[in-house]
């Protein structure tokens, strides 16, 4: 509608019968009329187009969100990481302080970061977290790829059932699902009891408080995050490409390696990062299922906050973790851009 008249608002040009221009006295409703017309979405789009505020307006919403809920907290945490722990509420020193000579002083303590390097607990926790996340991501990919592939190739009705089943566990509490694994894995748990009653083993296998239990917990919990992006990629593949490969003399396995696998690379990268990034910082699963002698960085972080009440060190740990994760995020971005460039 807005397009047909050039997008300009012209009084009296719309709204049924033509109305003669009148004064406020004779037609007191006239300004109201204008007002309601301006509220019509068609008017908005015309206005937005004419005044070219559309793009900034649209991008302003996510921008505002990110600034409010990401940038501001990040800056606060970043600030605290340069502070010093004190016995107070909040338990850290303000960075800016007035001295007695009315000088505004900015005090930045780099000791927190220094501390991360001196105490081997942090380095080993970081490395352990990265290792656990990497191994879990690998097994998620190993399990998730065939599943995503199978779902993408299933008939439409089956496909919807499978997707439903994959999303279904999200409807129960995450904590509950991890607890359920304790019941399965513990020494007198379901798995050990079954294996013992079948006579396959004679003593219970220790699975709780091991890396194995953490891998199981993470792979189980994060598998949907691997499957869904992979599925959405594989589902878009043109099957005639595989027919073309077969026609050109390529056996199915080779066609998979040369066609399907490279074309699904963006899905692999997206799924792997969606698993890897949260797995690095995972707190609940290692706390419930994992080792007690080797902590993951998420646990270290929470201990610093809640046990030690050392907010500055905890903030430094968080910032270091973020820096550590920026690298995979950048890889992800690069792949996303490349995929967009293909379209």
């Amino acid at each position: 509608m807005g397009a047909s008249n050039g997008g300009r608002w012209r009084a009296g040009s719309r709204g049924g019968a033509k109305r003669a221009p009148g004064s406020l006295l004779t037609r007191p409703w006239e300004p109201l009329w204008h007002f309601f017309h301006l509220l019509r979405p068609a008017r908005w789009s015309a206005y937005v187009r004419d005044h070219w505020i559309g793009k900034p307006l649209v991008t302003a919403v996510p921008m505002l969100w990110l600034v409010l809920f990401f940038m501001v907290p990040f800056i606060i945490v970043f600030g605290i990481s340069f502070s010093q722990s004190v016995l107070a509420i909040p338990p850290y020193e303000e960075l800016l302080a007035w001295t007695d000579d009315k000088v505004l002083q900015l005090r930045l303590h780099l000791s927190n970061y220094n501390y991360l390097f001196t105490d081997s607990l942090y380095a080993s926790s970081y490395l352990y977290s990265v290792k656990v996340a990497a191994v879990s991501t690998f097994f998620c990919l190993l399990l998730g790829y065939p599943m995503a592939y199978g779902i993408a190739r299933a008939t439409t009705t089956r496909r919807n059932i499978f997707l439903m089943l994959i999303i279904l566990p999200f409807w129960t509490s995450f904590l509950l699902r991890v607890y359920a694994w304790i019941g399965l894995l513990k020494s007198n748990g379901v798995i050990n009891n079954v294996l013992m009653s079948l006579g396959i083993i004679h003593e219970p296998i220790t699975m709780m408080q091991t890396d194995f239990a953490v891998y199981i917990g993470i792979v189980y919990s994060y598998l949907p995050f691997m499957i869904l992006p992979l599925y959405s990629n594989l589902e878009k593949h043109d099957r005639t490409l595989l027919e073309a490969a077969a026609d050109l003399g390529s056996k199915p396995w080779k066609a998979f390696v040369r066609i399907t696998l490279p074309l699904s690379m963006p899905g692999i990268v997206a799924g792997s990062l969606l698993v890897f990034i949260p797995a690095v910082g995972e707190y609940v699963i290692p706390s419930l299922l994992g080792r007690t002698d080797q902590l993951m960085i998420g646990r270290v972080l929470s201990d610093e906050f809640f046990e030690n009440r050392d907010w500055p060190v905890a903030s430094a740990v968080a910032i270091a973790m973020l820096v550590l994760l920026v690298v995979p995020i950048m890889i992800f971005q690069r792949y996303q851009n490349r995929e967009l460039a293909h379209k």
Partner: protein, 378 residues
């Protein structure tokens, strides 16, 4: 184009010739649906054989069975004397050009073309040489490093062709090869295809719904309808001597009249049509029971338009011009006969004389030669 090709021998007329492809009583069912119904075909080396038919007639299914993507539910396919049952696509001496081209989007043009050769044990230098050679033939040498999405539709089509041809297949299957191209490009590519086919001596089996494409490309055409081959012949045979009412109606435009055989002699037939003023006389005999109901087909371009009443007692009709479509080289008239039946007449615009032009609502006589009509039973 088909005319210039008659210099090549016509193996289908030789009873001793060995067919390169034999399709024997092939049926393909998808559930309850019969896509291809008991089709038998012989295609000879060096032919360009077109499978022509409307959508859903089974032509693509038949092609996919030649490529090995579908297995026949019954019957057998032989290529070069070898039974193809159970042989997967990647082991058949056949290559296909897909309707969508199916180019690998993550590979360059050269990568796409090289793909087929990389599946064989060929040295890299040899692969590079053959890729360069075939890209030269399809005139894409300078585009070797581009990705498919950086090419135009016509260029993509040529990459697909090069990719299929570089394997030097004995048989190339083409699924609607010119479908996605605009008219100018189609004509150009058509001739390019013919040139390449002659140069490399490959047998082509082309699937198309476009009769013009089938006519210009093919040595022979197999017309398909509802999963069956209804007629096989050269383009000229199919057009001038359609074997059935379906073929007459499907190929080109035609005026079909219902009638009854009144005379059926050795050298002529006479048909009485209610919609025409006088009987139709055809100068060749046919064998049918007397007074059989039949159909008569007359092509629009074989009808003469005139203002004088013809002296003959057969083969004319009287009507009024109802519509005129001027197309430059020719004009199509829709003439409303006295019976109310509308008939298409096509006249070449041979002169620019105004007195030879017809106007709307003008009364005209339609006449045609006794050799023109096609008569069929049923």
């Amino acid at each position: 184009m088909a005319e210039t090709r008659t210099k090549t021998p016509e193996p289908w007329l030789d009873p001793h010739a060995q067919a390169y492809i034999r399709v024997e009583n092939v049926t393909k069912r998808f559930g309850n649906f019969v896509a291809v119904n008991n089709v038998s075909l012989k295609i000879y080396k060096g032919e360009i054989f077109c499978l022509l038919g409307g959508s859903g007639c089974g032509k693509t299914t038949l092609l996919r069975m030649l490529a090995g993507f579908e297995q026949p539910s019954a019957g057998a396919v032989y290529i070069d004397g070898q039974d193809m049952a159970g042989i997967p696509p990647y082991e058949r001496p056949v290559n296909m050009m897909f309707q969508s081209y199916a180019l690998f989007p993550h590979m360059t043009v050269a990568g796409n073309v090289a793909f087929g050769l990389e599946q064989e044990k060929i040295r890299r230098e040899e692969i590079n040489r053959r890729v360069a050679e075939i890209l030269d033939i399809v005139k894409l040498g300078e585009y070797a490093k581009r990705k498919p999405h950086q090419l135009s539709g016509g260029q993509r089509q040529r990459v697909a062709l090069a990719r299929a041809l570089v394997k030097r297949p004995k048989l190339l299957l083409l699924d609607e090869p010119l479908g996605a191209l605009d008219r100018k490009l189609r004509e150009h590519t058509q001739f390019e295809l013919l040139g390449i086919q002659e140069k490399l001596g490959v047998t082509f089996v082309v699937v198309t719904h476009d009769q013009e494409e089938a006519m210009t490309l093919s040595s022979r055409v197999g017309v398909m309808n509802r999963g069956e081959i209804v007629q096989v012949g050269t383009p000229r045979q199919i057009y001038e001597f359609p074997a059935s009412r379906f073929v007459a109606d499907f190929i080109g435009s035609v005026n079909l009249f219902e009638g009854q055989l009144t005379e059926d002699e050795q050298d002529h037939v006479r048909v009485k049509c209610d919609e025409l003023n006088v009987p139709v006389y055809v100068d060749h005999g046919m064998s049918a029971p007397p007074l059989a109901l039949c159909w008569v087909a007359v092509r629009p371009e074989k009808i003469e338009l005139g203002r004088e009443r013809p002296a003959a007692t057969d083969n004319w009709a009287h009507g009024v011009i109802h519509d005129i479509a001027y197309m430059g080289d020719m004009t199509v008239f829709v003439v409303k006969l006295d019976s109310g039946r509308q008939v298409r007449v096509m006249q070449a615009n041979r002169t620019r004389k105004p007195e030879e032009q017809f106007a709307w609502d003008e009364a005209v006589y339609l006449s045609w030669d006794a050799s023109s009509p096609v008569v069929g039973i049923g």
